[in-house]
Symmetry: C2
Subunit: 416 residues, 2 copies
C-alpha cells in the first residue's frame, strides 16, 4: 500500500482492526482511540479490557482478523488511509473532529439531531480505491445528493450541476446510488472531471450492483471511499453514518431532490452539524420529490441557501471571485415576461428615470403628438417638471419630438 513507507505496519494493522471491530460513527470509540492511540486502543479492545461503553460496542467482533481485511483490500486494489498517513484528508475530517471534540467536552450528551444517523465522530480510517487525491478532499468539492427515485427534473438538475461544477474543477462527491447521485457522478465524469463515491458498505461490493461500472469509472481519476472494510454489507445505519462523510468530505452539500423521508435530509443534517454550507434546489410544490428540499429551506436553523444554478454553487464552494459567468446557469436568464429581448436598452433607461421623469414618460402617447401642456394634464404633473424631464427622455431614446409635440420613440412603443 502506498502509505506503508510512512505509516508503520503496526499502526495500519491497528487501524484496520478498529475499522472492523466497531460500527462507524461512535464517539465513545473515537475518543478512546484518540486517548490511547490506535495500537494501544486496538490491543485493549482485543483483550476486552476497555471501559463499558467501548466494550458494548466492540465485544461482538473483538476477535476479528485485520490481516484478512488488508489482504482482501490489496486484492481489490483498495488501500487503507490512516489518520497517521500524509494522505489523510485533514481539512475535510477536521470539521468532524471539531464537532466531536466539542460534544465530548460537553460530556457526550448528544441532542437528537446530533444522534440522527450515528454520532458525528471522525472516521477511524478510510478504505480507498482510485487514483484521485485524498488529502485535498474538502477543498473545492461539492456534494450533490438526493432521492434515488428522482424525477426527470431532479436528474436534469443533478446532471447540469455535476457537469458544470466538474467543468470548473470542482470535485463532485456523492453516494453512488441511483437517481440524483448517479446523475451527478456521471455528468462530472462526462465533463472530464473527478468524482468521489462515498460508499456505505465495503467498496469491493459496489452498491447498488447496477452501478458497479460507475464505481470503476469514479476510481479512474477520482475515488471510491468507505470507512467500512471490504465485505461489509450496506446496512441502513451505515448509510446514515456514511452521509456524515459525504458532508465532511465536501466544501458544501447540494440537495437536489428529496422526499420528506429521504436520506438526503440526513446528509443535510450532517452538513449543518459539521458547519458546512447547505445548498438546496427548490422544485414544484406539486412534486413530492421536492417536499424534503422545501422543508430544508424552511428550517431557519439550517440557514440553507436556495441555489438555482452552477454559478450559485460555485459562489459557495469555489474561492471568492472564481464563480464563472459561462457556467451554464440554469434558469438565471431573463425572460419575456415584460419586454422583448431587443428592448433592454429602453428598459434600462426606464429604470434609471426618476419618478417624475417616469410619470412624464407615462403621459406620452404612442403615435399621437402631445404638447407639453397635454402631457402635464395626462401625467398629472406640473408643466415645469414636464419641460425639465423631456430632454432627458429624448436623450435616453425614449421619446421623439417634433414641432407638433412629443411622443414615444419606436423602441419605447415596443416596450410599452
Amino acid at each position: 500500500m502506498s502509505t506503508a513507507s510512512v505509516v508503520s505496519d503496526e499502526v495500519q494493522l491497528a487501524r484496520a482492526y478498529l475499522s472492523r471491530v466497531a460500527e462507524p460513527a461512535s464517539l465513545a470509540i473515537w475518543e478512546f482511540v484518540s486517548a490511547y492511540g490506535p495500537v494501544v486502543a486496538a490491543a485493549a479492545i482485543r483483550r476486552g479490557q476497555v471501559p463499558a461503553p467501548v466494550a458494548t460496542l466492540t465485544a461482538a467482533r473483538r476477535r476479528c482478523d485485520p490481516y484478512a481485511d488488508l489482504e482482501a483490500a490489496a486484492h481489490h486494489g483498495i488501500r487503507l488511509i490512516s489518520p497517521e498517513s500524509p494522505d489523510w484528508p485533514h481539512l475535510a475530517i477536521g470539521a468532524l473532529e471539531r464537532v466531536a471534540l466539542d460534544i465530548c467536552a460537553r460530556g457526550q450528551r448528544l441532542t437528537s439531531s446530533e444522534r440522527y444517523g450515528g454520532e458525528p465522530a471522525p472516521p477511524l480510517a478510510l478504505w480507498v480505491k482510485g487514483t484521485g487525491e485524498v488529502s485535498s478532499l474538502g477543498v473545492r468539492g461539492a456534494a450533490i445528493v438526493g432521492a434515488r427515485s428522482a424525477t426527470a427534473y431532479g436528474e436534469h438538475v443533478a446532471a447540469l450541476f455535476g457537469y458544470g461544477l466538474a467543468a470548473k474543477g470542482i470535485t463532485v462527491v456523492s453516494g453512488g446510488a441511483y437517481g440524483i447521485d448517479a446523475a451527478a457522478h456521471r455528468a462530472a465524469l462526462g465533463a472530464g472531471g473527478a468524482t468521489v463515491i462515498v460508499s456505505a458498505g465495503g467498496i469491493d461490493h459496489p452498491y447498488p450492483p447496477g452501478n458497479a461500472r460507475l464505481y470503476e469509472q469514479a476510481a479512474d481519476g477520482g475515488l471510491v471511499i468507505s470507512e467500512s472494510p471490504p465485505g461489509s454489507a450496506p446496512h441502513r445505519h451505515r448509510f446514515l453514518s456514511r452521509n456524515r462523510l459525504i458532508a465532511s468530505l465536501s466544501t458544501g452539500t447540494v440537495v437536489v431532490e428529496a422526499a420528506v423521508r429521504s436520506g438526503a435530509l440526513n446528509t443535510a443534517a450532517h452538513c449543518v452539524t459539521v458547519g458546512r454550507p447547505l445548498m438546496v434546489v427548490p422544485g414544484p410544490v406539486t412534486s413530492a420529490l421536492s417536499t424534503g428540499c422545501h422543508r430544508l429551506l424552511r428550517r431557519e436553523d439550517y440557514r440553507a441557501l436556495l441555489v438555482e444554478s452552477v454559478d450559485d454553487v460555485l459562489a459557495v464552494v469555489a474561492g471568492i471571485g472564481e464563480a464563472g459567468d459561462d457556467a451554464g446557469a440554469a434558469g438565471s436568464g431573463e425572460t419575456g415576461d415584460t419586454g422583448g429581448p431587443g428592448s433592454d436598452g429602453v428598459r434600462r433607461a426606464l429604470e434609471q428615470l426618476d419618478p417624475v421623469a417616469r410619470r412624464v414618460f407615462e403621459g406620452l402617447a404612442s403615435r399621437t403628438w402631445r404638447t407639453e401642456d397635454q402631457i402635464a394634464t395626462t401625467a398629472g404633473i406640473g408643466l415645469v417638471e414636464v419641460l425639465r424631464a423631456l430632454p432627458a427622455l429624448r436623450l435616453a431614446g425614449l421619446t421623439e419630438s417634433d414641432d407638433q409635440g412629443h411622443r414615444l420613440s419606436r423602441g419605447a412603443r415596443e416596450r410599452r
Copy 2:
C-alpha cells in the same frame, strides 16, 4: 351612495376631487390632506394656494370636476368610500398609515425601495363596486399574485390556493390580470368564496378587457376596488402604486410565479414595506417564471416564507389554530421514496427505536433465523444489548421469534 348619510356631501366631493387631482401614492399630498382635512385641502389645491411640492403634483388637473366623476361612478354602480366613512378599511390601510407617518417623521427621505412604485402613502379615497364588505378588508385575506404569462404549473398552484383558501373563508385578493391573478380569482369564485380585484385604472373600464366578465363576477359577492376615479387609464405607475393596495388590503401576500422583472416582485416589496407576511411558492429552477420567486426567497431582508400548500398559507392568514387538515395541501403528502403505504406502522416503530435497538434490527435477516450470538456479531453490538432489545422489537411487530432464533417480521421485510 351608501355612506352619504354619515359622510357629508362636502367631504365626499372633496375626496372625489382629491382622488382625481393627483396621481396615487404621494406622501406630500397625503400629508397635506391629513394636516388640513379633505375639504380645506381640496379647496386650497383648487385655488393653487398650496406648498410647492403639492402644487407640482396637482397643478395640471386642479380644475378637474369631481361632480362628473361621482356621476359617472353612480352610473356604473361604483361608490366612493372615504376615510371618514364607517366602511373605510381601517385595519388594512392602517399598515400604510403607520409606514407613511414613520417616513414623514423622518423628513420624507425615502430609500429607493420605498419609492419603488410610488411612495407608500395611504389612498385618499377608494372607488368601490360590489356587494362585499369593505371595512373588514385586511382580515382573513390573502393576496395571490404573479406573472401574467404564467405557466401551467403556476396557474395550477394559483387555482389550488385560490380554491382552498376561499373554501376556508379567506378572501382572495389580486389584480385582475391574466395568468396567476385570474386563476386565483376564478378558483375562489369556483369555491363559492369572495374575491377582490384591485384595479390599476378606473373600475368602469376593466383591464384587461378580456377579464371584464371576471370583474362582474368578483363584484357579485366580492369587490372591485381602485383609488383612481372612473375613466382613469391603467398607466404603468398606477399599476405599481396599485400593488401597494393589494399588499395592504390582505393579511399576507403569496407570490406564485414571477420572472425577474415581474410586477409581482413590486407587490412583494410593498408587502414587506407595510409589514405584512410575504409568502412565496418555489418552482423548478429550470423555469424562468420561478426565478423571481427564488430571488424573493433568497432576500434575507424580506424574510419571505416558502409556502407549498393551502395549509401553509392558512397558517399565516387565518387565526391561530384555524389551519385545517383537509384543505387540499399541495405536495405535503408523504411519498413512496422509502416504504409503501402499508409500512407506516413499521416506519413509525423504526423511528422510535433507540440507536442500539435499531442496530439490532439491522443485524436481523429477512428469512434466515439468527441466534442472539449471530445477531450480536452481525450488528457489531454486545450480546447483552441484543437480549435487551429483542423483546421491544418483537412487541413493535418488527421481528418474529422461534426456537431457531429471530428474523424480521413480514411487515419489516417489506419495509427493508
